[in-house]
């Protein structure tokens, strides 16, 4: 039509917020929590925060200046990163900790990928996680109202945080009010839960964040902890403690709702929240670190691209599962092209195809034999080499090994004078050695494995015929030097001698865990329990009499 046409143009109004005003809103939301932290932990909080924010801002400015890119500190995102990083540290953290964490967060996690809006991991959380890998840094928590000075070493009295208590399966002894106000040990900003919730409400009311992710996250954690409680005070108390302690509220409200590292679609955001919740509960129940929030969020951050692709909003006007159905259709078509074709098994291809009978057959055979003969020859040669080496070095190796074994088994079963390897196999036992002395079988030394703090730990446990432990020795481990190794000293391991049955961590028939090395102690205990169980169920001719200890 040759005439005027209506064409829509862009809207001439827009909502007034900008990125910097949004970030400013986040900073305002964090101020009550910061104030509460100062009240609880003293002025050092402010000093650490200042160092952290300063490092982040300077790092961003410096990096971008050096690379000749535009100056972006005006959008206040570096400030927010610094603030969040500081608030997840313990107040006793040394001043170099936020510096290192801030540099890592801003330069590597954020700027290397293009700056604001382009990173795939939450910078503050990644910085904090980096610091977690330093032993001792993130494990010296002080109780509330202990106000360490500005310049001090880490001699403020450490206290077990509620998170540590929860990790052992008990409910901490705090009222709901105390938990909400944060009157206990923990991260500086993660502790005042009520203030963080107020901040979250402020952000929701200013339409900065939608409540979708925090609610999905907190709801999932609440549901899972309600369904699978631990401790002796009932499901509700366990759930409340899990919700209020640790960095969960801070993570759910401020870290998991970060714009850049979360999905863009509403359904994707819900999946993200639920996934974070499941991983958090998994890590809190079965992991080595007491608080799994940071790790859970980071792991989900790595999967955000998948959620964005999979959770596209349903097309307006199409059925609810139209997209899924179309995927299913595509998959079915793709898979239907795959058929099973019965093979035509012929050893030699040309056998019986024209030509003189047997001629092509022989050629083929010769070719194949040549092929495989080469391989077979090499294989045979290598086998012979191995065999020869084995024979030649056998005795020396065996002697050296025997000496090492003797020393080890001396430690583990001092009563025995003679040892032999047994042919017994039991599931979970790497080896079983029987120890004898003049009066006969003393018992068995079992080599077992269990999961420690940093990985697998291998230990040898001696169990006598009465089912009691005669000694424990740890042969390999991946625990932290100076922390976990406390649980592997001779005096610690001597605690196990004489115990039988199933050894617990508390109550009857227990050993005292080495302080600060709970996971390692548990691993050693697990090893011992495994060994005891193996010996109790060992299938041999002469039965083993054992006395079942108090269970």
């Amino acid at each position: 039509m040759n005439g005027p046409t209506i064409h829509r143009t862009s809207p001439q109004i827009a909502q007034p917020a900008t990125i910097s005003s949004t970030m400013l809103d986040v900073i305002i939301a964090l101020i009550p929590a910061l104030a509460m932290a100062v009240f609880l932990f003293g002025v050092r909080v402010l000093a650490l925060t200042a160092v952290s924010v300063g490092t982040c801002v300077l790092a961003e400015y410096g990096y971008r200046r050096l690379r000749g890119q535009s100056n972006t500190i005006g959008d206040l995102s570096a400030c927010v990163t610094g603030l969040l990083l500081a608030m997840s540290l313990p107040v006793t953290a040394p001043y170099w900790a936020p510096v290192l964490g801030g540099l890592f967060a801003i330069v590597i996690v954020k700027q290397f990928y293009g700056g604001l809006g382009r990173n795939f991991l939450n910078p503050a959380l990644a910085g904090r996680t980096l610091l977690c890998t330093f032993p001792g840094l993130m494990t010296s928590w002080v109780d509330a109202f202990q106000r360490p000075g500005l310049i001090q070493g880490v001699d403020a009295a450490s206290a077990a945080t509620p998170m540590a208590i929860l990790h052992t399966g008990a409910v901490p002894d705090l009222t709901l009010g105390q938990m909400l106000l944060g009157q206990h040990g923990g991260a500086m900003g993660g502790v005042p839960v009520l203030m963080l919730l107020l901040g979250g409400l402020y952000l929701v009311s200013r339409r900065v964040i939608t409540p979708r992710i925090p609610l999905a996250y907190l709801g999932t954690v609440a549901l899972l902890t309600l369904l699978f409680p631990r401790g002796d005070e009932g499901a509700l108390a366990w759930m409340t403690a899990q919700l209020c302690c640790g960095g969960l509220v801070m993570g759910a409200v401020f870290m998991a709702s970060d714009y850049t590292t979360t999905p863009v679609t509403p359904l994707g955001q819900t999946i993200f929240g639920v996934g974070c919740g499941v991983l958090t509960v998994l890590l809190r129940y079965f992991g080595s670190y007491p608080d799994g929030v940071g790790w859970a969020i980071l792991t989900m951050n790595c999967c955000v691209w998948l959620m964005d692709r999979a959770a596209i909003p349903r097309r307006f006007g199409m059925g609810r599962f139209a997209l899924v159905r179309s995927w299913g259709q595509q998959l079915k078509e793709s898979l239907s092209a795959i058929h099973f074709v019965p093979p035509k098994l012929k050893f030699l291809a040309r056998a019986g195809d024209g030509t003189m009978p047997g001629e092509g057959y022989l050629d083929e055979l010769k070719g194949k034999v040549r092929q495989w003969a080469a391989l077979g020859g090499v294989f045979l040669a290598v086998c012979l080499m191995i065999f020869g080496v084995h024979r030649a070095t056998d005795y020396a190796a065996v002697r050296a090994e025997t000496e090492a074994q003797e020393a080890l088994l001396d430690q583990v079963m001092p009563q025995a004078t003679m040892r032999t390897e047994t042919p017994y196999y039991a599931s979970g036992a790497l080896s079983i050695t029987a120890g004898y002395n003049d009066s006969g079988l003393v018992g068995y030394c079992v080599e077992v494995q269990a999961h420690g703090f940093g990985g697998l730990m291998t230990a040898v446990v001696g169990v006598n015929t009465n089912g009691e432990v005669t000694g424990v020795a740890v042969t390999s481990h991946q625990e932290t030097e100076g922390v976990g190794t406390d649980a592997m000293t001779q005096e610690y391991l001597d605690q196990y001698v004489g115990k039988s049955g199933t050894i617990r961590t508390a109550g009857n028939n227990s050993v005292d865990a080495a302080s600060g090395a709970t996971a390692t102690s548990e691993a050693v205990t697990a090893c011992v329990n495994q060994a005891l169980a193996i010996v109790a169920n060992l299938d041999t001719e002469g039965g083993v009499d054992y006395v079942d200890g108090e269970v």
């Binding site: 290397f112 990928y113 990644a126 058929h339 086998c383 790497l430 999961h451």
Partner: protein
């Protein structure tokens, strides 16, 4: 082993002992495998099939070797089992399921030199797993490697790997990305269900 312990082995193989991100096994020389999500999926599936079959075969062979007190041949045998499984699988697919072979032959071929297959066999032998645990370990280890490869490939398409300084572009920033992904899995070290 109880069902719970078996589940623990599976979860450990998937998360806290992820072949690629924790045990540093499994990234082969085929770079396309971690650059394109579909290729990553195919490589991962091939890897899972191979590790499971290798786990089975190597467990059986290990039992045999132990029975005949020939334990010192373990390394040689395991080294041969991996490529043998791959060759056998490729032969089978080529003759019996040609369409699948057409799509996945390259991926399967790249597993020949993949250390995860032999690594799985050795780990199983060292830890003395039973048959069930061995199969679960192989399968979930492969699954974990698949997830890691797909995440890496997916991230590569979404994340800009050219915004870093020139000296970091190319392999360094890819290694940094993998390292950051591995950082998030540090929390799973030592995870055990029992």
């Amino acid at each position: 082993m109880t069902a719970f312990q078996l589940a623990g082995v599976a979860v450990a193989a998937l998360l806290s002992e992820n072949f690629i991100l924790v045990n540093c096994l499994g990234i082969g020389t085929r770079t396309k495998a971690f650059q394109d999500p579909l290729d990553a999926w195919r490589t991962g599936v091939s890897l899972t099939a191979v590790t499971t079959l290798t786990a089975l075969l190597s467990w059986l062979l290990d039992q045999l070797l132990q029975h005949f007190a020939l334990g010192y041949f373990q390394t040689l045998v395991f080294a041969l089992v991996g490529p043998a499984v791959v060759a056998g699988l490729r032969y089978f697919l080529k003759n019996c399921v040609p369409e699948l072979s057409r799509r996945m032959d390259e991926n399967l071929a790249s597993i020949t030199s993949n250390c995860a297959a032999m690594g799985a066999a050795l780990l199983i032998a060292q830890r003395g797993y039973g048959l069930g645990a061995a199969l679960l370990f192989g399968f979930f280890g492969g699954a974990g490697a698949t997830v890691a490869l797909m995440c890496l490939a997916g991230l590569r398409r979404e994340v800009s790997l050219t915004s870093c300084p020139k000296s970091f572009q190319g392999i360094p920033i890819e290694l940094v990305t993998i390292g950051l992904m591995a950082l998030s899995l540090v929390g799973f070290y030592g995870l055990h269900l029992s």
